[in-house]
C-alpha cells in the first residue's frame, strides 16, 4: 500500500471536545435543564398483555403541583413507528403515543408533569386503572402458533413499505433469499452441520439513559433538546405523532452520553413535546435505569438455525441461516435488523448455494431496536461457531478453513444485491479487504500455533483458543444521506455545521479533521456545531456505521467547494489565475513564486473589500457502496473444571477500517465494541418471571463486566485504503461487538469440549456441558 502524506487525518490529535468534557462543563441534556422545568413521570403497565377497562385521572390532575396528565383519552391517536429510520420507514406502523391496549410490562399507561419528582410520583399513585388481563406471548416459538394471542389487533397497524406483514399471526416482518440450490449444496458436502443457536436479550446500557426536554417558544414552536442519535428523524416523527407540521418542531442534540443504537429511536420525545404543548412550560423527562432496561430498546433476541456443508478439501458447498427474531411489543427495526443477519454476515465466505430466511415476530416482551452490530452480532455467533464445527469435521484448522474461504478484494457476492434494508440491495465489489492480514496478525499475537485440540487437555484449569472473522458495512447505500455546511470567518476559521451526531464517538473531531485536511488548515480552525434541525443541514444521523464514511464524504465535498472559492479569491488578491495558486498551511500561495495571502486576509477581503460574498457552501452525499470493514478476533480462555467458571485471559482484535482518520479514536471504538461484546457474552442477561416481568432491571443484578474483569486486550489496526471513502476510510464503530460471542464460544470448546450455543457463558452452563447435560437451545 502506498504511503500517503496526510497533515491532519490519520493523526491522533486531541479530541476537540476533550477539555470541555474532562472539565465537566455543562454539556448534556441533564446539565441544560431549566430550573422551572416540570418533571415527567410515566405510569406503566404491570401486565404483559392487557386492556385498560377503566382509567380515572381526575384525582391526579387536581393535585397541587400537577400541571397535566396525558393518557390515551386526551392525546391524538396517530399510528407510527418509534424507529428513527429513513422515510418511508422499513419498520411497521404499530405504535401510538398512548393506547388502551398494554403490550408488555412497562407499556405506557399515563404520564404526569408536575413541579417536583415527588409530586409526579404521588400523582402516578393517584391514577386509578383497571385492566382486563389477556393471555400473553412470552416466547418467540409461541408467537406464530395457531391460536396465539394477537398482540397488534388494532386496525391501524400496517407495514408502510411493500414487505410481508401479518399482524394477525404476530408476524412483524419476513425476508427470504435463496441463491443457487441450497439442498443440492448440502448433498454435495462431505460434512455438514445443522444446529440451533440462541442470541439472548441485551441492552446498550449507555451511561446516560434516555433524557429529553422541551418547551414552546414565543413563535409557538416546540423546541426539543434530547439525547438522540437521529435529530432529523426525531423531528419528523414527533411532528407526525402530534399531527403538527415539521416546521413547528426544532430538535437540538447537545453532547450525548452514549447511544449504541438505543437512541436511534423515539422513546421520550413525543411525550415531552406533547407535554410542552399541553402545559406551555418547559418539561423534562429522564428514564431511570430500570425504565431504560424495560421500556427503552434491546438487542433483538433470535433463535437461529445454521446449516453449513463443506467438502474435505475445505470448499463450502452450502450455507443456510434461518433467523426467528423477537421484536417484542413493537416492530421497531425488526425487518432491517434481520436483513443484516444475512447481508452483513453471509457474504463473508464464498459459497454458491445460499439459503436465508428471517422471520420477525411480536411478543409481549421488551422491544428490540437498533443496537451496535445490528443483526450481524446475532448471525456472527451462529455462523462463526458453526464454521469451527465444520472445520473440525473435515479435519481442518479453523483458521486455515476461514483463510481459504473468506471474501477478498475484487470479489463480489450476490447477497449484496439480493438483500438490502427492507428492499433490494446494491451490487458492489469489495474494493479493500485486508482480512488475510488481520488473521495473520491476530494469530501471531494470540499464539495460535500453540493451539491443541481439547482432547489433549487435562487437569483442573484448561486453556483454549478461539477465533472469529467478521464484516459489517459502512452506511446504507442509496438510502442514507448526509450533508454539511461550511463557512469562513474573518480570522480564517470555519464553522462546520453538521447534521451528523457525535454521541461520544468523536465524530465531531473526525469530521473536523477531514475538513481541515481538505482545506489545508489546522484542526483548531474548525468550529463544529452538531446537530440542530434549525441550524444544521439534514443528516440521517449516527447509525449503520455511516458517519465517517458517509457524512465524512459530505464534509470532504463541501470543503473542496470552499477550497475552490478560497483559491479563487486568493488568486484575485495575488493577481493570478486560480490554476496558478494552491493552498498550504492556511494560506493561498503561488505555485511558482513568492506571493502568498493568509486565509484570514482572504476572509477579510471577501467580506469587506471587493466582490464581497460569504465564502461557504453546503453539500450532501449519498453513497453507492457500503464497503465492509473486516476483522479477525481471537480469544484465550481458561475454564476451571472445578467450578465451571470461564476466565477470559486475552482478547485480540485485528481490524481493517481503511484509513483510520483518528487512530486513537478508531482503537477506542474497537476496544469499546469488544468490551461491549465480551460482557454480553459473559454475564449480561435479561431474566423474566413467568408473567413477562424483567426481574433484574438494574446494574446490581444485570451484570456488566467491570474493568477488573477485563482480560488483557490488544487492538491491531491493519490499514487498507478504501478508494470510495474519505481519505481511504471505512467504518469501525460496530464490527467489534460481533466477535466475542463466537470467539469466546470457540475458545471454551477448544478448552474443554463444551459447545455453548446460547449466551451468556456462565459457570452453570459450562458445568452442565461438562456433565454432558446441556439443555436444548431455547429462548429466555
Amino acid at each position: 500500500m502506498k504511503k500517503r502524506n496526510f497533515k491532519v487525518v490519520n493523526k491522533p490529535l486531541r479530541k476537540i471536545d476533550a477539555m470541555t468534557l474532562a472539565l465537566g462543563k455543562p454539556s448534556y441534556v441533564g446539565d441544560l435543564k431549566p430550573r422551572d422545568a416540570l418533571i415527567i413521570k410515566m405510569l406503566t403497565s404491570p401486565h404483559a398483555h392487557a386492556r385498560i377497562t377503566s382509567i380515572d385521572i381526575s384525582e391526579a390532575e387536581q393535585m397541587p403541583g400537577v400541571h397535566a396528565v396525558l393518557y390515551y383519552g386526551n392525546v391524538p391517536r396517530i399510528v407510527h413507528t418509534t424507529a428513527g429510520q429513513g422515510y418511508p420507514e422499513p419498520s411497521p406502523y404499530d405504535t401510538f403515543m398512548f393506547d388502551s391496549k398494554m403490550r408488555f410490562v412497562g407499556d405506557r399507561v399515563a404520564a404526569v408533569a408536575a413541579e417536583t419528582e415527588k409530586i409526579a410520583e404521588a400523582a402516578l399513585k393517584a391514577i386509578k386503572v383497571e385492566y382486563e388481563v389477556l393471555p400473553a406471548v412470552l416466547h418467540i416459538e409461541d408467537a406464530m402458533k395457531e391460536g396465539a394471542p394477537v398482540i397488534h389487533d388494532e386496525p391501524e397497524a400496517r407495514a408502510v413499505i411493500p414487505v410481508p406483514y401479518d399482524k394477525d399471526r404476530n408476524m412483524a416482518a419476513k425476508v427470504d433469499m435463496d441463491i443457487g440450490e441450497f439442498e443440492k449444496g448440502m448433498a454435495e458436502a462431505d460434512a455438514t452441520v445443522d444446529h440451533r443457536f440462541y442470541n439472548h436479550y441485551g441492552q446498550h446500557c449507555p451511561v446516560e439513559p434516555h433524557v429529553s426536554m422541551a418547551w414552546v417558544d414565543r413563535e409557538d414552536r416546540i423546541i426539543i433538546t434530547t439525547s438522540t442519535q437521529v435529530p432529523f428523524h426525531c423531528r419528523r416523527i414527533v411532528a407526525q405523532t402530534l399531527g403538527i407540521p415539521v416546521r413547528r418542531v426544532r430538535v437540538i442534540k447537545p453532547r450525548i452520553g452514549g447511544g449504541f443504537g438505543a437512541k436511534q429511536e423515539i422513546v421520550l420525545e413525543d411525550v415531552v413535546a406533547m407535554m410542552a404543548l399541553r402545559t406551555r412550560k418547559p418539561v423534562y423527562w429522564e428514564y431511570t435505569r430500570k425504565e431504560e432496561f424495560i421500556s427503552a430498546r434491546t438487542r433483538h433476541p433470535m433463535l437461529m438455525r445454521i446449516r453449513i456443508g463443506a467438502k474435505r478439501d475445505g470448499t463450502i458447498t452450502a450455507l443456510g441461516l434461518d433467523c426467528l427474531s423477537n421484536t417484542g411489543w413493537n416492530g421497531s427495526q425488526g425487518l432491517t435488523v434481520v436483513c443484516n443477519c444475512g447481508s452483513k454476515v453471509l457474504p463473508l465466505y464464498r459459497c454458491e448455494h445460499i439459503h436465508f430466511n428471517g422471520t420477525v415476530v411480536y411478543t409481549n416482551l421488551p422491544a428490540g431496536g437498533a443496537y451496535r452490530g445490528y443483526g450481524a452480532t446475532q448471525a456472527a455467533f451462529a455462523l462463526e461457531c458453526a464454521m469451527d464445527e465444520v472445520a473440525e469435521k473435515i479435519g481442518m484448522d479453523p483458521l486455515e478453513f476461514r483463510a481459504m474461504n473468506h471474501i477478498k478484494s475484487g470479489d463480489t457476492s450476490p447477497i449484496f444485491r439480493a438483500l438490502g434494508e427492507g428492499r433490494e440491495g446494491v451490487d458492489q465489489a469489495i474494493t479493500s479487504c485486508e482480512l488475510a492480514r488481520c488473521i495473520k496478525a491476530g494469530a501471531r499475537e494470540i499464539g495460535w500455533r500453540k493451539r491443541k485440540p481439547h482432547s489433549d487437555k487435562k487437569g483442573r484449569f484448561r486453556r483454549g483458543l478461539g477465533m472469529a472473522c467478521l464484516m459489517q458495512g459502512s452506511a446504507i447505500p442509496e438510502i442514507d444521506m448526509g450533508a454539511a455546511t461550511l463557512k469562513m470567518n474573518e480570522d480564517g476559521s470555519f464553522n462546520l455545521l453538521l447534521g451528523a451526531t457525535d454521541l461520544g464517538t468523536g465524530s465531531d473531531t473526525v469530521l473536523a479533521q477531514i475538513a481541515a485536511e481538505t482545506l489545508g488548515t489546522d484542526l483548531e480552525q474548525i468550529i463544529v456545531y452538531s446537530s440542530d434541525t434549525d441550524m444544521t443541514p439534514f443528516d440521517v444521523g449516527a447509525y449503520a456505521s455511516s458517519t465517517t464514511y458517509l457524512s465524512g464524504q459530505a464534509v470532504q465535498n463541501v470543503a473542496e467547494k470552499v477550497r475552490k472559492q478560497i483559491l479563487k479569491v486568493g488568486a484575485e488578491m495575488l493577481d493570478r489565475k486560480p490554476s496558478e495558486v494552491t493552498v498550504q498551511d492556511s494560506k493561498v500561495v503561488e505555485k511558482n513564486g513568492e506571493g502568498q495571502v493568509s486565509f484570514s486576509e482572504i476572509a477579510l477581503y471577501s467580506m469587506y473589500n471587493t466582490n464581497q460574498f460569504q465564502i461557504g457552501d453546503i453539500s450532501s452525499k449519498i453513497v453507492h457502496h457500503s464497503p465492509p470493514p473486516f476483522a479477525a478476533h481471537f480469544a484465550e480462555v481458561e475454564v476451571d473444571t472445578l467450578t465451571g467458571r470461564v476466565q477470559l485471559i486475552k482478547y485480540v482484535a485485528a481490524a481493517d477500517c481503511g484509513t483510520p482518520i483518528h487512530p486513537k479514536l478508531a482503537e477506542g471504538q474497537v476496544e469499546g465494541a469488544v468490551m461491549n461484546g465480551i460482557t454480553y457474552a459473559m454475564t449480561e442477561q435479561y431474566l423474566f418471571n413467568d408473567k413477562g416481568r424483567m426481574t433484574n432491571p438494574g446494574f446490581g443484578e444485570y451484570k456488566l463486566f467491570t474493568l477488573r474483569d477485563l482480560p488483557e486486550m490488544k487492538t491491531i489496526l491493519v490499514p487498507s485504503y478504501e478508494k470510495t471513502g474519505p481519505y481511504g476510510a471505512k467504518s469501525i464503530a460496530e464490527i467489534g461487538i460481533n466477535g466475542p460471542m463466537p470467539a469466546i464460544g470457540n475458545a471454551i470448546y477448544n478448552a474443554c469440549g463444551v459447545r455453548l450455543r446460547s449466551g451468556p457463558f456462565t459457570a452453570e452452563k459450562v458445568w452442565q456441558g461438562l456433565n454432558g447435560n446441556l439443555p436444548e437451545v431455547k429462548s429466555e
Binding site: 463486566f705 467491570t706 458445568w767
Partner: protein, 296 residues
C-alpha cells in the same frame, strides 16, 4: 394526609450522631429517641431507595462511635469493633493473622467504595444469606457482643443468625464487638467466593474453612458455606465425618458428595439450585485439597 406527604426522601429522616457508646445506648433505650442503627448505609440506603424497607423516622449513626472502631489482639483471640469497615478488615495485620479468611472475604465485598463504607456489624445485622463475612465468622466459633443500657450480652455466632434476615438482637441493643478465636498454630484457612464477576458481585456460593492435618489425617475441620440456605451454615456432619480421614481422591469424592447431599439451596436470580448444590461440594473439595497441600 395528601399522597405527596407520605412519600419520604432521605432528607426527611432525622439523624443523630452520638459521640460515645453510652450516649448511643441511651438514645436506643427510649422508644421516643430510638432510631435504626446506621453504619455504612450500604445496605440501608439501597433498601430504602428500592422500597424493600420503609424509610424510618430516625436513624442513629453508629459508624464513628470510637468504642466500635477498635481492633485489638489478645492471646487467643482478636477483638473487632462493630463499625470496623471491610477495608480495615482486609488491611489489618491483626485480622490477617488471626482470621485470614475474614480478611480475604472482606476484600471481595462490592468494590472499593463499598469496602470503605460498609462495616462488619452492618453485614452481620443485615443477615443476608449472601453476606460474605458470615462463613469466616462461623468457622471461628467466636461470639458477638451486644450492648444495651442494662448491660452487655455475649452470643455465640453459630446461634446468632436465627433465620432468613433474622438475628438475635433486642430493639434497644447495638452490636459492639466480635471476639474471634485466632487461627491456632498448624491450622489453615481457605476462602472462596463464586460470583458472576470480580467486583460488585453478590455470591452465588461462598465459603470458608479452618482445619488441620496431623499424621496424614484431618485432625480438625470446620467449614461454613453461604448463599445456599436462609443463613450461612456450618456443615457439622461433614466436619465430623472427615476428621480422622486421610485426604486422597476417594475421600475427596465422598466429601464432595456428602456436601452436595447436605445442602438444600434454592434457585434464584443469581444461579440455579442444581449448580449451587454441585459447586458447594466442589468448594469443600477444594478447601480440603488446599489444606492437604499446605500441610505438606
Amino acid at each position: 394526609m395528601s399522597p405527596v406527604s407520605t412519600l419520604k426522601t432521605f432528607e426527611d429522616i432525622d439523624c443523630t450522631f452520638p459521640k460515645t457508646l453510652q450516649e448511643a445506648l441511651e438514645l436506643m433505650a427510649d422508644e421516643k429517641t430510638r432510631g435504626v442503627p446506621l453504619a455504612g448505609g450500604t445496605d440501608l440506603m439501597v433498601q430504602w431507595e428500592s422500597g424493600a424497607l420503609p424509610m424510618p423516622e430516625r436513624v442513629i449513626n453508629v459508624k464513628s462511635i470510637p468504642e466500635l472502631r477498635e481492633i485489638s489482639e489478645a492471646d487467643n483471640e482478636v477483638v473487632i469493633g462493630g463499625s470496623v469497615t471491610h477495608m480495615e478488615l482486609r488491611q489489618s495485620s491483626a485480622v490477617r493473622r488471626a482470621v485470614p479468611s475474614l480478611a480475604e472475604a472482606a476484600a471481595t465485598i462490592g468494590g472499593f467504595q463499598i469496602q470503605i463504607m460498609g462495616t462488619l456489624a452492618g453485614s452481620v445485622a443485615n443477615a443476608s444469606p449472601a453476606g460474605d463475612l458470615a462463613p469466616s465468622l462461623l468457622i471461628t466459633d467466636g461470639t458477638v457482643t451486644l450492648a444495651g443500657v442494662r448491660g452487655e450480652r455475649e452470643v455465640k455466632l453459630t446461634e446468632f443468625w436465627k433465620g432468613y434476615r433474622e438475628i438475635d438482637r433486642q430493639p434497644d441493643e447495638l452490636i459492639v464487638r466480635f471476639r474471634l478465636p485466632r487461627l491456632p498454630e498448624g491450622h489453615y484457612e481457605s476462602w472462596r467466593k463464586l460470583g458472576a464477576r470480580k467486583a460488585q458481585a453478590i455470591s452465588k456460593v461462598m465459603g470458608s474453612s479452618r482445619g488441620r492435618m496431623k499424621d496424614g489425617v484431618v485432625s480438625c475441620f470446620k467449614v461454613a458455606l453461604g448463599s445456599i440456605a436462609p443463613t450461612a451454615v456450618r456443615l457439622y456432619d461433614v466436619e465430623q465425618w472427615i476428621v480422622g480421614q486421610p485426604i486422597h481422591d476417594e475421600t475427596l469424592k465422598e466429601a464432595e458428595q456428602r456436601v452436595a447431599d447436605a445442602v438444600k439451596p434454592i434457585g434464584d436470580i443469581r444461579s440455579t439450585a442444581e449448580y449451587r448444590k454441585w459447586v458447594s461440594g466442589r468448594l469443600v473439595r477444594l478447601f480440603l485439597e488446599e489444606l492437604a497441600a499446605r500441610s505438606g
